[in-house]
């Protein structure tokens, strides 16, 4: 069972640097040297065969908001997007701030998810920013990082204590960097477009000052610190600077932050409303440059499903966030690879060893003996994204009916094909 031979694909394995046509054998869900005759085969001729992709930033809405997404539906959307492992943020209801909630998510994932689901725990109780959550017991229950995503810890002293704890537990601290006083009431990036549209702005500085604060605290505490969905040029520069000083500082960006600009908002379409907001061209260029230079370690989707009626409101009342699991590979190929900015190997790295290193995970490679998670994609295939066919329970994507060049073909988790185009 769960044995497979993937034949004739171009294998890209950033962990070893291997790039060439070879067969991949899977025996009982584990990468193996070879498989016996008669093992089922997958013909990957003309396709890229890569270690299973990891999305280190998704929102699954379970428990509490199952009408928008469940662990089951989110995992299916992940599989359809080529991801074999996803990390879910703690802003559920209740917030994942205790071992009880973590265990619930882990057991629900075991029952219903077709991909690996790794929970991220809250930094503070209820993500209220005041009192530290039960970080140690959550780690025992299975969290891989801590974050108060969406409700950043404003109190620097609390953040410092969290980093001290996290360092002792060897957990990365992921921060959604937003100074809530600077961004208060904002609906989109502050700039020419917000002025024109009469919408209140979220200045780039609201991200910059928090990244600066966090890097200073990371140096003070020695914590592993990770910037979620980095979106500004100054933040990218500060992360590069921190890296050059040898700090354990990493960053992720999302496809929409390097594909779209704030000018997309011209018609008040709430499918372009998210946090951080779509930034101006200079910021977008810097994010791409950060992906190229290595300042940015990973691509994550910040998949944020919202039920239809939540987005059918006045722009300023609509919640922030868009879905992203199913479009991530297509968008990344389009903006980064087909433009010649990065190689296919680097792209695979950003989805595999990049996030694995940030989180300290052993997955993201094709090494014999490890669980056989594989992402097979076609960098050239033409396809149209139809949001109504999405595996997600929500439809809030700005990429509906977009024509893509390149996308996922098959997703294999522990040797089992869980999705194929």
């Amino acid at each position: 069972m769960n044995s497979l031979v993937i034949r004739n694909g171009r294998v890209l394995d950033p962990a070893t640097g291997f790039d060439g046509v070879r067969d991949i054998s899977i025996l009982d869900g584990i990468f193996a040297e070879s498989a016996p005759d008669g093992t089922p085969e997958f013909d990957a001729r003309g396709l890229i065969v890569a270690p299973g992709f990891i999305d280190m930033h998704v929102h699954l809405r379970e428990p509490g908001m199952e009408h928008a997404e469940t662990i089951d539906s989110g995992a299916r959307a992940a599989a359809a997007g080529g991801f074999t492992t996803i990390c879910c943020m703690p802003n559920t209801s209740p917030v994942n701030d205790s071992a009880t909630v973590t265990s619930y998510i882990v057991s629900r994932a075991k029952q219903s998810a077709i991909v690996n689901v790794l929970p991220i725990g809250a930094i503070t109780k209820g993500s209220a920013g005041e009192e530290l959550a039960a970080i140690g017991s959550m780690k025992k229950a299975g969290i891989v990082a801590i974050s108060d995503d969406g409700r950043p810890v404003m109190n620097s002293r609390v953040m410092r204590r969290a980093m001290e704890f996290a360092r002792a537990l060897d957990l990365p601290v992921i921060d959604h960097c937003e100074d809530l006083n600077l961004s208060a009431g904002g609906d989109m990036h502050e700039g020419m477009m917000s002025t024109r549209l009469g919408l209140r702005g979220i200045p780039s500085s609201s991200e910059d000052v928090m990244v600066a604060r966090d890097i200073i605290l990371a140096e003070t505490t020695g914590a592993r610190y990770h910037v979620a969905h980095i979106s500004t040029r100054h933040a990218v520069a500060m992360v590069a600077f921190a890296k050059s000083r040898g700090l354990r500082v990493t960053a992720e960006t999302t496809p929409h932050h390097f594909v779209l600009h704030d000018k997309e908002l011209h018609d008040y379409d709430s499918n372009y409303k998210m946090k951080p907001p779509l930034r101006c061209e200079a910021d977008v260029d810097a994010v791409i440059e950060g992906v190229v230079s290595g300042a940015i370690d990973a691509i994550a989707t910040d998949h944020a499903p919202h039920a239809g009626n939540d987005k059918m409101q006045e722009f300023e009342r609509c919640p922030f966030g868009i879905t992203g699991l199913e479009t991530a590979i297509g968008l990344s190929l389009e903006a980064l690879v087909h433009t010649g900015k990065i190689s296919l190997m680097r792209l695979v790295e950003l989805f595999t060893t990049g996030p694995a290193r940030v989180l300290g995970l052993s997955c993201g490679t094709l090494t014999n003996g490890s669980p056989a998670d594989v992402t097979i994609f076609d960098p050239e295939r033409s396809w149209i994204y139809d949001v109504n066919q999405s595996q997600s329970k929500s439809r809030n994507s700005p990429f509906n009916q977009k024509l893509f060049r390149g996308g996922p073909k098959a997703t294999i988790v522990s040797g089992r094909v869980v999705w194929a185009a």
Binding site: A184, G191, R196
Partner: protein, 300 residues
């Protein structure tokens, strides 16, 4: 056809509305003439924000064209029972009005509805975005005294950041080659406004703004849209309030305008408001004529 804003309106379209509105001006008459261009039609005025002059003005305009006009304010409607904007509009739409005139506190609310509803929507002010009929009536008022907008120097002074009137006027004046000077305290005058349209400059000095101006438009400080502690009224009036002594800096026959409601002693002195230079009541009168032209254009 909708009227959502000035920014995307063709210059020829604006000219047509301004020209047609002359036909509806009462001039020396006792009242606005009655027409029956829109007989049998129904216009719903849906106001989600308090308004006296704009709502009344649209109502009179519709009635003077022979249409029926119905005004609804949000506080007295199902909105207070938690109904969403789309559902409210769908419900009203099912009652088959020929157009909906809408004012809403959220920027873009009419644009959002225009995408989802088949009924023509006229924007009577959306948040801090646009107030197209105000810019049209301001242009009508200026053109009643000047042959053209081209080359005029128009100072717009006050809370620019939160002003939909300023945005619509900047777009309109720019399309006709006027020079616009925007003036206000730094926190109410985002630098990006300088790139909103061509011919726009910014200053924090009221004297600089008024110098050689043909038109001075004063704006109300929109406390209800500010989310932080505002500058004190006294400090504001001292630096940005329009007083008689300022008028000497402007061109000899400069006009003083204000979209209303005015706050005497806050953004302009009583003496200025009541002076010969003030055309504030002409603006109100032109509001009806211009809105008649707009309704006719959208509906007839």
């Amino acid at each position: 056809m909708n009227l959502l804003g000035i920014e995307h309106l063709e210059r020829s379209e604006i000219e047509a509305i301004l020209e047609r509105s002359k036909h509806f001006q009462p001039l020396a008459g006792q009242s606005f003439q009655r027409f029956d261009t829109l007989r049998g039609m129904m216009v719903v005025n849906l106001f989600f924000e308090a308004s006296t002059r704009t709502r009344t003005s649209f109502e009179i305009a519709a009635k003077r064209l022979g249409a029926e006009a119905l005004s609804i304010t949000a506080s007295g409607s199902s909105v207070s029972k938690g109904e969403s904007l789309v559902d409210t509009l769908n419900t009203l739409g099912a009652m088959r009005p020929q157009a909906i005139v809408m004012r809403h506190a959220a920027s873009g609310a009419p644009h959002f509805l225009a995408r989802h509803l088949p009924i023509p929507i006229i924007n009577a002010g959306d948040g801090t975005h646009e107030h197209p009929t105000q810019a049209l009536l301001d242009a009508r008022t200026i053109l009643d005294q000047r042959p053209s907008l081209e080359g005029l120097r128009v100072a717009i002074i006050g809370d620019i950041a939160h002003s939909r009137v300023a945005r619509s006027n900047v777009h309109l004046l720019s399309k006709f080659g006027a020079q616009t000077v925007l003036c206000g305290p730094a926190s109410l005058l985002p630098r990006e406004l300088g790139q909103l349209a061509s011919g726009v400059t910014l200053t924090n000095s009221i004297r600089e703004a008024i110098e050689d101006a043909d038109v001075i438009m004063m704006l109300r400080v929109q406390l209800e849209r500010q989310h932080e502690v505002p500058m004190s009224a006294g400090e504001y009036f001292q630096f940005f309030g329009l007083r008689l002594e300022h008028l000497a800096l402007a061109k000899p026959h400069a006009m003083v305008m204000h979209p209303g409601p005015i706050n005497r002693g806050r953004e302009l002195s009583s003496e200025v408001a009541d002076s010969q230079r003030s055309v504030i009541l002409n603006q109100v009168e032109n509001g009806i004529a211009v809105r008649m032209a707009v309704l006719e254009r959208v509906l007839a």
